[in-house]
Amino acid sequence: MRAHAVGVAVVALATTGCGSQIGFGRARTLEPGHGEVSGSVEIDTVSVPTDQAQVPLPWVQVGAGYRHGIVKNFDLGARGWAMGVPGHFSAGLSLESKLQFVRSRDADAVTGLVLGYQHVELGGTPWHVFGVGVPVLMGINFKQHQFVIGPRAGYLFWTGYGMDTIAVPFFGGSTGVSIEVAKRTRLMPEVVITYIPISFNGEVDQDRRYGSYQVQLGLSLSYDL
């Protein structure tokens, strides 16, 4: 059953598409020329629509990223993340843009485009999951901190050796608090819930075939360079 559990975990990893969605940060772009590095650790759980996976299946993933202010109200960033056990691993990379369209003392709002790639390897044969997502982050500022809510939607493309490409949308949202713990240093606990209306076939009852939920509990630390 260990093998089965790991197998389900690998499916879960693949179906999470963009992989880590922790670390997109707060609803404010960096000032032009400014840089920010970040690191994150997250606990992910997933529900795959087969009976065997009704029990939450957790794994731990670590990530790191860098953002840079390009022009006023626009920055670009990149993040990477990975997890693995001997012989099997998953790693991903995303390129993220952030465009601010509301900026005030009390509230901020940004949107952007996220292009992600997740490499899932099982026994030497990889799966490739490409993702494109559009998050919207809305922030409410208090003192030096920010409460963030971030709905998001996108599309995943899952392909690999000997299989047809699976295209499926995803929807979700996040909530978190960006806390300034020291000058130029912010800590952000957040939770991201993603739903993928994926359909599993095979020996699974018809009414249990639809939908996969992923919950990510993350903690990221960022530092303004």
């Binding site: 790991v6 499916v11 099997h88 490739h128 000997g162 299989m163 295209a167 076939n201 020996e203």
Partner: protein, 435 residues
């Protein structure tokens, strides 16, 4: 509306672009494509006759099923039985549909291979083409040992009542039955032989020892719909969390090399029968399973290959009228072997009605290919484990490879699943170590 069209078009375009990621199947030629036709050898020097040449063959490889009251629809035990069916027998053996052993000889040597060798096939065909001469019964040679099946039957189990499949949707039904194991001490099963009740509707079965919560759940499900057994999918996780598989397929026999799998005394057996009404109407069935049982045996483990991506809708999409859709996959099964050297003892393929052929190979770390199983013409409803005459060494860095071909004559797109859908999987038994 235009936004939706754009999104769908963009998604479709990306899917097309990514379709190249599917890659190509392993380029190693199928040995059965180049195997010589055994019938090309020409006429024999001496015309074979029934008593002198063919009867020993039939006794060894046919009458296990083709016996009065046997699994097959008619007996082949007597001269008359054979002579009046020569026109049926010839195409059945030439196509290798019978005896029902569909693995290509050129791929590997198997334990208890009950197929006709090339020489035997040639002899049988020459006998038929020569008019089916009886010959001299006094010259009948000593009987050959019967090939296949169980060397002895120690235990037979079956559901308590006949069951007539009634799929709620489609043509297929997975029906599960709980059957008490009659022995009270821990023993080893060293041979399994399924005996379908109504052969035309039993595609295959899985038999295993069920325990834990799944057993409690299964007991609660039994007879809930007023009929024997229960719908397998109603059992959480199909019971696999607590199921120790003992055997499967639709024909079987002894396990080689003293191999066996333990079964606890007083335990409960789950008998999962895959009924398919795609080719025959429903009828009352009471499938049995026979076992050979020993006090001790060498235990083996199981591993599998299938791309989990196929099980997601869209990952396996066999288009309507595609007469050679190909799905393939390879991976190193370290989840099962822990990266240690193991000996692969058997290979069991699993596909459904629109499958046409399958190959299972080892891709060794040095690039060498080793054929495990090649079935050049798939026959739905004839699944079985193929035990190797000599086990195959599988080392760290080696990969299993599977390639399934499909001929979709269903008139619709099909994917992974039951109910006239398809599957592509290989199952293997192995022992740890290299001896």
């Amino acid at each position: 509306m235009w936004g939706s069209i754009f999104r769908r078009s963009a998604a479709a375009a990306i899917v097309v672009v990514l379709s190249s990621c599917k890659g190509k199947p392993d380029s190693t030629p199928w040995c059965s494509d180049t195997a010589a036709d055994p019938l090309d050898a020409g006429a024999p020097a001496k015309q074979p006759t029934y008593f002198e040449d063919v009867k020993p063959l039939i006794d060894a490889k046919c009458t296990r099923c083709h016996t009065t009251g046997g699994l097959a629809p008619f007996s082949l035990e007597k001269w008359d039985d054979v002579f009046r069916r020569l026109d049926v027998i010839r195409p059945a053996i030439v196509s290798r549909h019978m005896p029902p052993w569909h693995a290509a000889h050129c791929c590997a040597d198997y334990y208890e291979d009950w197929s006709l060798t090339d020489d035997e096939l040639r002899l049988f065909v020459n006998f038929i083409d020569g008019g089916g001469m009886a010959g001299d019964s006094r010259k009948e040679p000593p009987p050959m040992a019967r090939v296949g099946g169980l060397s002895r039957v120690d235990v037979t189990i079956q559901p308590s009542a006949r069951y007539t499949p009634a799929p709620s949707d489609g043509t297929d039904e997975l029906r599960c039955f709980l059957v008490p194991w009659p022995m009270q001490e821990r023993k080893f099963i060293t041979g399994v032989n399924p005996v379908p009740g109504v052969r035309s509707i039993v595609h295959h079965l899985v038999v295993g020892q069920l325990s834990g919560d799944s057993l409690d759940d299964a007991r609660g499900l039994e007879g809930r719909d007023g009929r024997p057994g229960f719908v397998c999918e109603d059992l959480k996780g199909m019971g696999f969390r607590d199921l120790k598989i003992l055997g499967g397929g639709v024909v079987g026999g002894d396990m080689p090399d003293g191999l066996g799998t333990p079964v606890d005394g007083g335990s409960t057996i789950l008998l999962q029968v895959h009924y398919s009404l795609a080719n025959a109407p429903a009828a009352p069935d009471q499938t049995k399973v026979q076992f050979r049982v020993d006090d001790n045996a060498r235990e083996f483990k199981a591993m599998a290959i299938a791309n989990l991506g196929w099980m997601v809708e869209g990952g396996m999409k066999i288009k309507k009228d595609d007469h050679d859709a190909v799905y393939f996959y390879k991976y190193e099964p370290t989840l099962f072997t822990q990266g240690k050297t193991v000996l692969v003892r058997s290979a069991s393929p699993h596909m459904h009605a629109f499958a046409s052929k399958i190959v299972l190979r080892i891709i060794h770390d040095n690039g060498d290919r080793e054929c495990l199983l090649e079935i050049p013409k798939w026959h739905f409803g004839w699944e079985q484990p193929f035990w190797f005459a000599k086990p195959k060494k599988f080392e760290k860095g080696d990969q299993l490879y599977i390639e399934c071909h499909f001929d979709n004559t269903s008139g619709r797109d099909i994917g992974w699943g039951n109910d006239n859908q398809e599957m592509c999987a290989g199952f293997f038994n192995f022992t740890e170590g290299d001896e």
